[in-house]
């Protein structure tokens, strides 16, 4: 059997359920891996080793008593440090929240624990999940950014410290770090996973994200997290799909719409050529590939996304910011200050454009199942003063449609490359099915040299 810390979530859950491995052994293996790599990677804000071992022992005892095992029984998880965890510090990478201990668990945290997951602790986020870089290093090369804002979650999952971590995405904060670290990142439809108990950047744009190493694991974790929550005013009421079955039945090649125009013009030459090679490979494996044009409003979408984000981040931080401006990092401070200055009319224009773009995006799927772009314009930059470029994710976050990044190869300097798939709103089943087919066809698993 492979080393326990290298196993994916579905494998761990299956082996724990059949009592072939113990949740205590798995948790110990992950904690040892963290102990060995954390000084170099700096992926963890708060590690709760004692709490994790106690939870693993409770899980083992429950199995010994013959109690039903949850979908994530014995699976170690990490939580970006913006998710409320009752009794466990949630600092959001900020000096403002340095000593904040939430009184309750986020809905997503509760659902993971109810499914039997073992909470190892809180992973490092950039300050309030925005653009000032975090101290986390990319396990592929510490001179390159791991991306952000879910930096610790992505680096930890890529480095095999654990199989699952939660992130969030307001622009590109789940899929971008997933691509930069060579793993899978999933952002479902807006409202599919509750935002209750997640420190916001922008109420209208925030999504909970999933960071794992396979599409099957993404489906498994989404199955646990998806569903209506009365505490979240944006929560979807539509029924949750059978995501696990979707990935098990991913044997039909999807109809793929390739987006070029802005994406081809913005990507660097290597990424552009790599993406075309991926498209050719998928086409040769019988996927029906055609080019899809970007809708008329696309040229204004990135700007409108920023306008909403600036205003809503200012609205959330408002009094905290006025009282403690000196405790904020430079990029977040600039964003908040811009938010104060933007006229209300412009904020509403950005929201109106968002509705129009959502309708235009729906039309893009008339003849295809999913859309495909490079996951990022280039591999992770060799620059620790940035978290990279979110422009390939932001339009889909703005539209609230589901998207996933999967690894697809490596650049000439050895950094991971990936592609992004996008589906219509509420069509996670379709997205996961197509992603699983692409993953199997490309057959790329990336393991960093740590």
């Amino acid at each position: 059997m492979p080393a326990l810390h290298t196993l994916g979530a579905a494998t761990v859950a299956a082996l724990v359920r059949t009592r072939e491995i113990s949740p205590v052994e798995v948790t110990e293996a992950c904690l040892k891996r963290i102990e060995a790599l954390e000084p170099m990677l700096k992926a963890w804000a708060t590690l709760d080793a004692e709490g994790a071992m106690a939870a693993a022992q409770r899980c083992e005892q429950a199995l010994q008593r013959g109690e039903a095992a949850g979908l994530l029984c014995g699976v170690p998880i990490g939580l970006k440090d913006i998710f409320y965890t009752a009794g466990l510090r949630t600092a959001a990478g900020s000096r403002v929240y340095a000593d904040f201990v939430p009184p309750y668990d986020a809905t997503s945290v509760l659902r993971l624990q109810q499914a039997g997951a073992i909470r190892l602790g809180k992973t490092i986020t950039t300050e309030f999940a925005t653009a000032d870089p975090s101290p986390t290093h990319n396990p592929w090369n510490p001179a390159h950014t791991p991306g952000g804002s879910s930096s610790g979650s992505a680096a930890a999952v890529a480095a095999r410290m654990l199989p699952v971590a939660l992130g969030s995405q307001t622009g590109g904060s789940t899929l971008r770090p997933a691509a930069y670290n060579g793993i899978v990142g999933l952002k479902p439809t807006y409202g599919r996973i509750s935002r209750y108990g997640v420190i916001p950047v922008s109420w209208c744009l925030d999504h909970v994200g999933i960071l794992v190493r396979s599409v099957e694991d993404a489906a498994l974790v989404l199955q646990v997290l998806a569903g209506y929550d009365a505490h979240d005013p944006g929560s979807l009421t539509e029924p949750v799909g059978n995501y696990l079955m979707a990935v098990q039945q991913a044997d039909h090649p999807p109809r793929i719409g390739v987006l070029r125009e802005f994406f081809a013009e913005t990507a660097d030459a290597e990424t552009r050529q790599h993406t075309e090679a991926v498209v050719t490979q998928l086409s040769r494996a019988s996927a029906a590939v055609r080019e899809v044009a970007l809708p008329p409003s696309f040229g204004s979408v990135l700007a409108a996304h920023r306008v909403i984000m600036h205003v809503e981040v200012a609205a959330f931080h408002d009094k905290m910011f006025l009282a403690q401006r000196e405790l904020y990092g430079p990029k977040l401070r600039e964003s908040i200050e811009s938010g104060y200055a933007i006229p209300g009319v412009e904020y509403l224009r950005a929201q109106r454009l968002r509705r129009l773009f959502q309708e235009e995006v729906e039309q893009m799927f008339r003849d295809v199942d999913v859309l495909l772009t490079p996951a990022t314009p280039a591999p992770a930059p060799r620059d620790l003063s940035t978290t990279g470029d979110a422009r390939f994710q932001s339009p889909w976050t703005y539209a609230g449609v589901p998207a996933i990044a999967i690894p697809s190869g490596r650049s000439q300097d050895g950094m991971p490359l990936g592609v992004q798939l996008i589906a219509p709103a509420r069509q996670e089943t379709r997205l996961l099915q197509a992603a699983r087919w692409c993953e199997a066809t490309l057959n790329v698993t990336l393991t960093p040299p740590v």
């Binding site: 807006y190 409202g191 209208c204 005013p233 944006g234 008329p296 409003s297 040229g299 204004s300 990135l302 700007a303 409108a304 920023r306 306008v307 600036h310 600039e334 964003s335 200050e337 811009s338 104060y340 200055a341 933007i342 006229p343 009319v345 412009e346 509403l348 224009r349 950005a350 929201q351 109106r352 454009l353 968002r354 509705r355 129009l356 959502q358």
Partner: protein, 58 residues
């Protein structure tokens, strides 16, 4: 507001607003970020919205 305004005009408006909130000196410090925001507002306004289009927040 910005349908026919230049980046400079929008920047002037944002800077005036910032000066009211934070003072002239602070508004001057914010100028590079406000310049980017002015560019975003002008870019966003390049697309003409139907007048009867309402926003949907969630």
């Amino acid at each position: 507001m910005a349908n026919e305004r230049s980046v400079e005009e929008v920047l002037a408006l944002l800077s005036t607003h910032a000066a009211h909130l934070w003072g002239e000196e602070d508004a001057e410090r914010q100028r590079p970020a406000l310049q980017q925001t002015a560019e975003q507002i002008v870019t966003m306004n390049r697309y003409t919205l139907p007048p009867d289009l309402e926003p949907r927040f969630f």
